[in-house]
Structures are given as C-alpha cells and as structure tokens.
Amino acid sequence: MNDDGRHIRLLIGLGVVTLLLLGRIFSLQILSSSYKEDADRNATIYETIYPTRGAIYDRNGTILVGNKVAYDILVTPREVKPFDTLALATVLDVDPGFIKSRLEEYNKRRRSIGYQAVTMIRNLPAETYMRFDEVKYRFPGFRGQVRGIRDYPVNAGGNLLGYVSEVNQAYMDAHPGEYKSGDYAGMTGIEAAREKDLRGEKGYHIYLRNSLNQIEQPYKDGVMDKEAVPGQDIVTTIDASLQQYGQELMQGKVGSLVAIEPATGEILALVSAPGIDVSMLADIGKHWNEISSDPYKPMYNRAVQASYPPGSVFKLVNGLIGLEEGVLRPEMMYSCNYGYHFGAGHKLGCHGHKSPLNMEESIMMSCNAYYCYVLKNILDNRKYASVADGLDAWHEYVESFGFGRKLGSDFPAELSGSIPTSKTYNRSYGKGRWNSTTVISLSIGQGEILATPMHLANLCATIANRGYYYIPHIIKASEGVEIEPQFYEKQYTMVDTLHFPKVVKGMWRAVNSGPGMGGTAWIAHVDSLDICGKTGTAQNPRGADNSVFICFAPMDDPQIAVACYVENGGFGATYAAPMASLMVEKYLKGKVKRTDLEKRMKEANLMSRVKHD
C-alpha cells in the first residue's frame, strides 16, 4: 500500500529519538565527571585503622610508656533488637537500669547517631569482655571493641611524659587537616613534644556498602587499602631508675630535682614535686578534677617553669665573671665581719666563718661579703663608663651561662627566668639614681635574679665541663628519630675555660673538706666520688628559706650534674645537698650506702610549710 513515504519518515523519527537518548547517555557518561565521584561517595566507606602509638623508652631501654589494650562495649542503636536486658547487665557486670537509661538516651539522639556505633562502656576488665564475647550473638547491635591505650610500666616521669587524650574542637582547629574527632593526641610533655613521631600514620580499609550503609565486601579486594604506619618509638635521655629515685626523694616536698649528663647535655632525671602519678596519666579524664583542684598544681612543671632566686649557688657565676674581667684573682683575700657593711649602717649579713679568706675558701664556706666585693668590683670597673654599663656587661656574661633566657631544650613550656639589666633599675630607681650597692644582693643570687632549676643544673654542667655546656635535652637520637643539630654543639660561656678549675676546686672543698673545716656541704660527701658542690639558701618571702644545691661528680670525669631546689627547705645543706648527693650516689654507684640519710630525706614532709594560693 502506498503510504507517501510515511514508513521512511517513521524510521527517521526512530533515528532522531535514538539520537536523543544516546546524546543524553553520552553526556552523562562521557562529558560529565561528577557522577563518577558521586558513585564513589555513594558506595565506598573508609574504616580507619589506628596506628599503634610509638613507645617511649628510657636511656637504658626500659619502657616508660607502652601500649596496652582496653576493652569497650559499642552499641549501634539502629541494629539493636529486643533482648534480655537483665542477661546483658549480668554479663557486663553493670546495673540493668544503666543499660536501659543509656538506650533511652541513644533513642533521643537517634537522628544524630544514625547508623553509627556509640561507646556505651569504656575500659571493661578483660575477663568481663571475654565473657561478653562468648554470648554477644544474643545481643544484636552490641559489639566489643579493642582499643589501644597508654601503659606505664614504671612510675617515672609523670610530668615529663605528659598525657594523651582525645582531641577537642580547639585542638583540631589548631592542627587543620591532621586530626578527626575521636583521634588521640599528646597534650603535654614528651607526648606533645614528639606527637608527630609518636602518632604514626592512620591507614584505612575501604569497604563497599549498600544503600542501608551495611558493609558488603572489601573494595577491589583491599588493594586500595592503606596500612597504618605505627608510630615511631622515642628513646629519652631519662634514666628510669634515677628518675624514680628522685621522685621518691621529693615526696612530701615542693621543688625540683634536675640531673644532666655534662658531656652530652642529656637530661638524666627531671623531677617536679608534687607531680602526677603515671597511674593518673592513663586515664587523665577521670582524674582531671582532682588534678586541677590540687592547690600544689601538680601539672605545673617546676623544673623548667618555676622561677626562683638561685641564692648562693650564683656566687659561682659572679666569681667566674670577676676572674674573666680581671677584677678578681683567686688568691685575693677579703675579710668578712658577719657580713658586708656599706653606707650608713647597711649590712648584707653573713654567717660565722674564717676571715679573711681567698676565693676557693669563699666558695667552700659560701661567704657573702666576699661576693659583695667581687660584684662591686665588676660593676664599678673603670673600663665601663657607668655602673649601668657595668651591669649590662655583667648581664651579657650571665646570659652566656644560659640564664635569663630559654635554654632551647626540646622540652615544651620551658620558661626563661630573668636577669636584670640597667633598664630594670632605671625603671624602678630612675636613670643614674642607683649604684653598685643598690644592686648588691645580686652578688649572692638574690634580688632581681630568677632562674629555673634547669638553669641551675645547666650551670652545674657548665662548671663540670670547665666552661661550656650542651643544651639540655630529653630526646636521644635513635633509629628514625633525629634531634636538632644544636644539641651536639658546645655552648661556650664568655668566661675563659682556664678560670673554671679554681671554682671547681672550691666546690670540691665545700663537699670534701671534712667535718669542722667550714665546708658548707660536708653532708653531700660520698667516699671516692669526688663530688663538687655549692649550697644555696635563697630567701623566700612566703616563709622559710628555699634549700638549694648544685653538684657534679666525679670532679675529674664528670658523669652527672645535679640541681636540687626545695621550697621552704631551709639551708642548702638541710635538704637540697643531701638529696642531690643521694642522686649522684645512686647514679654512679647504683646503690645508696647512706641509708639513714636516704630514709630521713624520703620521709621528710615539708608540705605544711609551703604556702599556696
């Protein structure tokens, strides 16, 4: 039948429609790329694999911080089917009301929870967890989760190590792109300082999920998965047993003990008392209120943050500056009549000792008057136009010992203390309206001088090295962990090394002169150790004097330099000297023979003397 070519037209129409469909498909599949991304977002689900956090070792390979597993119970509210609440409560050893109330709470939050799992119970005992594991099939929606938490085999260095906790929003904002909700990070101490090494790299499994968010199978059989990279282990310079011993000694006291290996600048022990017990670190959240309400502020790391007047140990610095400046010679004698008298009836007092005396003896007996002369001679030196210039020159010397600034250690939150300059006094007295006697208490480490216990330990190490120090640090280089190159560089003071032996001799005599000879630190004497030390008794406006002592040993091959600072401890020889020498004995001999002294030190409790806010 003739159709005027209508069948041809129908065929053409078929072609046009076909082209329309194919054009649309072409534009979806070839021209647009957004659908491929949508498809990936649709169907893949990333499950994070958390890396094991690096362990922290002491210098001898003892684990300070390791990892252990904690058992949690998670619940996915949407998957929970009716179950025997009582049975579950019995298995988990909790109150049935607890489970009910949690489920009711989840029900209220069901929109925000969605298909996610929430943690119902944390840190379940292992045997409870095993018991649950056997019967969990009876409780759909509930499952266990094994989680790594920090473990502290020895109670050493709570403050030092720092704690790890779940990141909050502020932390995530401060480290954009690095953390996600639920991640953990080191918040203080070494955990914070070496966070980048310790944390490792998260990995992920990619799974394919269906439209109900249920996991179906690994994506591409897991070839696109990324394994977690475990965190780097960190070796510290800490000697665990010495650290622990220091903590025991400092019990019941407020203050610090710092021990440094002079030949390297490695920190052997860093005790801040009162401190945080490692048992609290593992679960910091639970103890947070207790810690933050403690009036003695256990989180406050006094060893690097507290600024104290150094007291008489600072005489060593003034003596060395005097020698370098040429205004003091070791054989110079000054007399002391129970102090240094200046102006109309002013006096800087001193205790009864031999007079006149030379420099070695002045160190041994800790004469105040001697150093008043020394400082006066430094400041009033003719080569300086004014006392102000003299003081600024002195300031420069003092700073070269590390005082008045951050030492630059790898320890976070180190503070700088302070050393006065002419500006300090111009501000309080007015320009030209003060002189060397105005600032005379600087001679004995009082007045405007403030230093941290770390500064004092560093001074001790500098003297032990006869003129230089290494920046104190707490991380040792180890496989995969490098430390900053400046930790390997000798830091010279502005005082020539040849002046140091005289000072060392004085320190040796302070400790080893025998009873009745006037040495201030006979109590720190240990046979055959050749300990060299200097006592200090620093005024504390809030009560009894602070007890200060620095020492190193042995004299000719220094292995350890210790600074001890005990708030309200009285004379340097009362607490600081015995404790510092016990540290030396412990470190060098491995065992303490002076058990009576050790017992007395450990049991002493000075807390009632310490005033707090």
Partner: protein, 501 residues
C-alpha cells in the same frame, strides 16, 4: 505439512530471532550482575532472580518455538475478538481481586507465580487493531472507522489507568504511529500531544530539556509530514541541532570548569589585560552563560530565516513547525505559573503523583539521581562485569526490573548502552521493514503495532533511567526481570506475522 513447515522456516527473519536472543541473553547476564554479591551463588541458582529468569527464558524459547512451528498462523485472525474481550475482562477483574503492589492493582497472584494481564493486553489490542483495520472498506478518514480504531486502543488504556498502572497505559499512545502509517493525519493529535508532553516535561525535567525535546519533536514533525525537498539535508540539520542542544549543557559545564581552573592563567598569560578589569569580564562571562539562553538566542536567529523560507516556498508544514515551536516555548515558560496559580492543590498533587514527583519520602529525585549516578559512573567502557557498585548494593531502586538499564550503563559503559540501544533499534527497524514488505494488510499493521510497543517501552524506560522521562514504572522489553513481560514480548515478536518476510 512438512512442506509447509519448510516454507515457514525459510521465510522466518532469523535476524529478528537472533536480535531477540541477544537481548534476552544480555538481560539475563545483567539481572545476575545487578543482584550479584561477594558470596553470590551461581547465575542458575533458582533462589535468585537470575535463576528464575533462566527458567522464564527457557519457557519463552519453548513458547517461541511453538508459535513459529506448531500453531497455524491463520488461527490468530479468527480468535482475536474473543481474545480481546477476555483480556478486557481480566484487566477489570484484576482491580478487584489483586493485592496492592506499590499502589497499583494489576497483578494476579497465583501462588508462586504472578501475572499481569496488562502485558498480554498489548497483544490482544495489536491483534484486534490489525484485524479491524485490515478489513475491506476500512478508512481512517471515515469518522466511524477512526472512532472504532480509537476505541480499541483507548478501552484497555482506561482500564489500565484505573489499575493505577499509568506507565503501562502510556505505551498505548504508541499505537498513534500505527494509525499514522495507515493514513491518519497526525496534526491535531500531535499538537495536543505536544502541549501535554511539554507541560509534563517542564514540571519534571525542567525547561531546558523540554525545549530540547521540543526541537526534536518539531524536526520529527517536519520530516514526517512536510513536503521535504532535500530529505537527507533536512534530517542532517535537524538531528544536528537536536544533538547540539542535547550536548550543550555538559559542554558548557566543561568549558566553565576549564576556565575556572585556568582563570588566572587566562587573565595574565594569554591576554595580559591592559586596562585591568576588562579582561576578567571577558572570561568570567562564560560561566554565567546558561544553555537555555544560547538556545533561545540561536532560535531567535534561525526562526525568521525558516519563516522566510516557508513563505518563499509556500511550505505550510515548516510554518506550522516554527509556530508550534514558538507556542511550545511560551507554554514551557508559563507552565510553572499555570501549575502554581491556575491548578487547584488537589489537582497539583494528583499530577505530581502521576508524574512520580511524590512517590516516596526521599522524593522521586532520589531514584532518578541514583539511576543517573549509576549510568554516569560507567564512563566509556564501564566498570566491567560484576564490578558495578551502584546497582549491586541497592542504591538504584528496582535494579533488576525497571532500572535494569542502569546495570548495563554502569558495568558496560557507553559502549554497552550503544550496543543495547542499537540492538533495539535494529529490532524495531527490522520489524518495520519486514512489515512493509508483507503483502497482507493484517500482517503489516500487526508488525507496526509490535514495533510501536517495543519503541514506547524502550523510549519511556531508558528515558526514565537517564532522567529524560518522569519515573514511569514499565519494564525494558526482554531485558527486565519478570515472566509476564518476557512472555508477552516473546509472543508479540514471534507471532508468525512480524518475523516472516
């Protein structure tokens, strides 16, 4: 008898049979792929849809063989009236006895098997239409004859609408092509169809794609009805402009992404702006360019030329096409206004439900979007057999039945889509050509009915999966899972008439 059979075998169009077999096989493989999972049993597992489909395929092949070789072809012409009445009866009965399946009442539940009479009513309608229209003295130009033909088509259509199976009812609009082939003037019907289609499409797929469709429709209209002097040039120009309009949005997107990525480069390297701001304006003008403006601007340029040409050559059809295009554009732009302000709320919601805009809480947008994501993510070559993620894991709804094309698109890519659509087009065209070469009117008209049914299913189903059509739940012939549909199309295609030369 043997001689007659031998004659039959020779006259069977094996190309149609092979295409049919290929499509059924492709469908079976993709049903398996769309339900495949890691611990999936074999394709033959009778517990799964792929296994069941295998049974349906075997029975269909048996059915096809029986129709081709056992049943006398003359039988059909004699039973088509009672068959049609029986089907109408079943269509009505099913409304009252069936269970509610997703809001529709169209399935007979016979224990393990379910059966949808709407599928066989296509066969009955095709047979009766062919029978009536092939009678002596039947003229579509006669109002009475036209009314009879229309009634044959519209009667089952109305009952199916009452079953809430609007999608299946829409297929019957395809019979218009049969009427057209037999001399019916499509003008008025075409215009009415245009208005309805534009109204629906503007609401569902937006104004731009409606206008693309409008251009395609006008090209179609002109080519079909006009006195085309250079058919191939006209077809080339028409198809070109449709293709241009269809590809324009994606191309513009790509261009904008390209420019945004290189805006600094463009501003400072290629054309160093001497007067500062002007350069930036030049490049940043493109992202603001919406495809619809391009099409409107080009139309404003082209339409006067076409009108002038129509006037010069006294080409009424061209003038009508241009006029209808203008009306269509106005209608498209005013549709939202009419829908929001002229229609009552209950009318709006009925239309929304009809168009699938209010089907489920996450909205029809969810289904179409997931479907587009699945197809779009396939790319040129697809993700590979069983490697699809969107269909297998249930992001795409009804992935074995109405949305089976998504699996093809995702796992076999553009190449797979091209092959499947080419097979369908070949099948349809082959049936049409076979129909034309028949001497009898009955066989020709029946062939056209079959081709129209397959075409409507193809266009509506694939159009739905790629977001060109509203979500209308009808299966893709031969590919979709389901016995009723496979049997129905097997019978439809294998009735001796369409496959024999």
């Amino acid at each position: 008898m043997t001689e007659q059979h031998a004659h039959k075998r020779q006259s069977i169009d094996w190309a149609v049979i092979v295409t049919y077999l290929l499509l059924v096989l492709i469908g079976w493989i993709n049903i398996y792929a769309s339900i495949h999972s890691a611990d999936s049993p074999s394709i033959f597992d009778l517990g799964t849809r792929s296994g069941k489909q295998f049974v349906w395929i075997l029975t269909s092949l048996g059915l096809a063989g029986a129709i081709l070789f056992l049943l006398p072809s003359r039988l059909w012409e004699s039973i088509c009236i009672p068959f049609y009445i029986l089907v109408l009866f079943l269509l009505m009965v099913v409304i009252f006895v069936s269970n509610d399946v997703k809001g529709s009442h169209s399935w007979f539940d016979l224990g393990p098997v379910r059966f949808q009479p709407a599928e066989i009513s296509k066969i009955a309608t095709s047979l009766l239409l062919a029978f009536v229209m092939s009678m002596q003295n039947f003229r579509l130009s006669k109002l009475k004859d036209l009314a009879i033909a229309a009634a044959i088509i519209i009667l089952p259509m109305l009952i199916i609408v009452a079953e809430s199976e609007t999608g299946s009812a829409l297929v019957y609009l395809g019979f218009v092509f049969v009427l057209y082939r037999e001399g019916f003037s499509g003008w008025w019907l075409g215009l009415f169809g245009l208005v309805v289609a534009l109204f629906i499409s503007t609401l569902t797929i937006g104004i731009y794609w409606s206008i693309v469709g409008l251009i395609a429709a006008m090209v179609l209209f002109y080519v079909l009805t006009g006195n085309v002097s250079h058919p191939w040039r006209t077809v080339f120009l028409g198809m070109g402009s449709v293709a241009f309009a269809a590809l324009l949005p994606a191309a513009l997107d790509e261009a904008c992404a390209l420019i945004e990525g290189h805006i600094d480069y463009l501003n400072h390297r290629i054309w160093v702006p001497q007067e500062g701001e002007s350069a930036r304006y030049f490049w940043s003008f493109l992202p603001k360019l919406k495809p619809i403006y391009v099409v409107l601007a080009l139309s404003t340029g082209a339409l006067p030329i076409l009108l002038y040409k129509a006037y010069r050559k006294k080409d009424l059809t061209l003038a009508i096409a241009v006029g209808a295009f203008l009306i269509g554009i106005l209608l498209s732009f005013s549709t939202d206004y009419i829908f929001d302000n002229v229609l009552q709320p209950h009318q709006q919601s009925r239309i929304e439900v009809l168009l699938g805009m209010k089907e489920d809480p996450s909205g029809v947008g969810y289904n179409v979007n997931q479907s587009k994501i699945a197809i779009g993510s396939g790319g040129l070559l697809g993700k590979g057999f069983l490697q699809g993620t969107q269909t297998t894991f249930g992001f795409v709804p009804e992935q074995t039945t109405d949305f089976i094309f998504c699996t093809v698109g995702e796992e076999w890519g553009f190449v797979g889509c091209l092959v499947v659509i080419a097979l369908y087009v070949f099948l349809i065209a082959r049936i049409l050509i076979d129909a034309e070469s028949c001497r009898g009117n009955f066989t020709r008209i029946y062939g056209y009915c079959v081709a129209a049914c397959i075409f409507m299913h193809l266009f509506i189903n694939v159009g739905m999966t790629v977001g060109l059509m509203p979500v209308i739940g009808i299966p893709l012939p031969l590919l979709s899972y389901g016995g009723s549909s496979l049997w129905a199309f097997t019978i439809l295609i294998h009735f001796p008439i369409p496959v024999q030369k």
